[in-house]
Amino acid sequence: MLGRTNSVTWRGGLLKVAALAMAMAASASVAQAAPELQGAWRIDKPTVSLKPVQGEIPFTAKGRALYAANRAARAKGDFSYDLTQRRCSSPGPSRLMLTADRFRIMRLPTQVTLQFEWNRLYRHVDMRGGKLDEPLIGPMMGLSTGRWDGDVLVITTQYISELTLLDALIPHSDALKLTERLKLVDADTLEDRITVEDPATFTRPWDASITYRREAEGGFREDVCLDRLEAGQRPLPVQ
């Protein structure tokens, strides 16, 4: 193998030369914007459910059937629909925003990072203003881009693996798109207003809202979900 090259042959136009053009204008706006979002946050009213701000979740027939099946399975303690509860697999972005543990918001010039105490997960939000290309397989966390709308951090997430749920029960297809608006209600209160769009699962977009309280933070614990799972605990609260 000495001398064997690491050449990769590509068919068609697969290989693109990575000529990164950093949008320094975009990064400049990040550098100035709303530093107060930074810090540690904890959900105000712990819940496992993403609730619409008004009315009921507008399921399609297919969405409703899948949701009902998940609900029925959960009632029997059957979590075959829930890879997080079975294996500690990543819960995906919206379910993680419901965490009962803390998360912190940190930023670098062209990226916002939401880091979660739960199982040391994180979300990367690309602030460079580029277009998202569809991956061959979407990751559990999806791919997120963000921008500032005044003091509001707007995060768009797509390509979220169908192996995740929106919360403890709500299914989604790979067409799911989440748009989040994160803003300070006051100095110590953060709201995440989430718009859920998925024509395969819902008849129209719908909004949920999650409120967090700021916490003075002295570091997260080292949470290892697999250890809890092996000790016979559920990775996440069930209800």
Partner: protein, 167 residues
């Protein structure tokens, strides 16, 4: 149905999943007996996508006629894409003809060698093609295919192949 339907190779084939397995960066095929190949027909139970390697769980009928779940190392989404597959089109329940190289220590597992789907499309693990150092030989002392795996194949990903870029 043509598995290579969508023109993945003209669209940007984006990688977003990385190592589904720990230690993906330091493995080899040292865990596998490349000199033996077993075959069976089976049903895909689960695909755990990752790069450079995924894992596939296939329910096959064991020698005693009872179904058993076989966990195998397999290729990344890009590896499948390069062979004309759309990874998303591979579904739980797909029936396949499977061949694999089993674990050296005899435990029920190994690395997939080929998967033939109902429509005739075949996926071949390119990193263990004949001629790849380590393919077909026992891992006796410093196998050429053997990087010292740091404690083994991390879940879902065992990098492997001497010098071959996984994808």
């Amino acid at each position: 149905m043509n598995r290579s339907g969508s023109l993945l190779l003209t669209a940007a084939a984006v990688a977003a999943v990385g190592a589904a397995s720990p230690a993906a960066a330091h493995h080899s095929f040292a865990m596998y007996d490349m000199s033996r190949t077993e075959s069976a027909s089976g049903t895909i139970k689960e695909f755990r996508w990752g790069a450079p390697h995924s894992a596939v769980i296939v329910t096959i009928l064991a020698a005693d006629g009872k179904p058993r779940d076989l966990a195998l190392l397999s290729g990344s989404p890009l590896a499948f894409s390069k062979q004309g597959f759309n990874p998303k089109s591979i579904k739980v329940g797909d029936k396949i003809q499977l061949s694999w190289h089993p674990n050296w220590n005899g435990s029920f597992g190994g690395v997939a060698a080929s998967m033939k789907f109902r429509d005739g499309a075949v996926y071949t693990e390119s990193e263990i093609a004949p001629g790849v150092p380590g393919a077909g030989g026992p891992p006796s002392g410093g196998p050429p295919s053997g990087g010292p795996p740091p404690g083994g194949p991390p879940p879902g990903g065992r990098p492997g192949g001497a010098g071959r870029p996984a994808d």
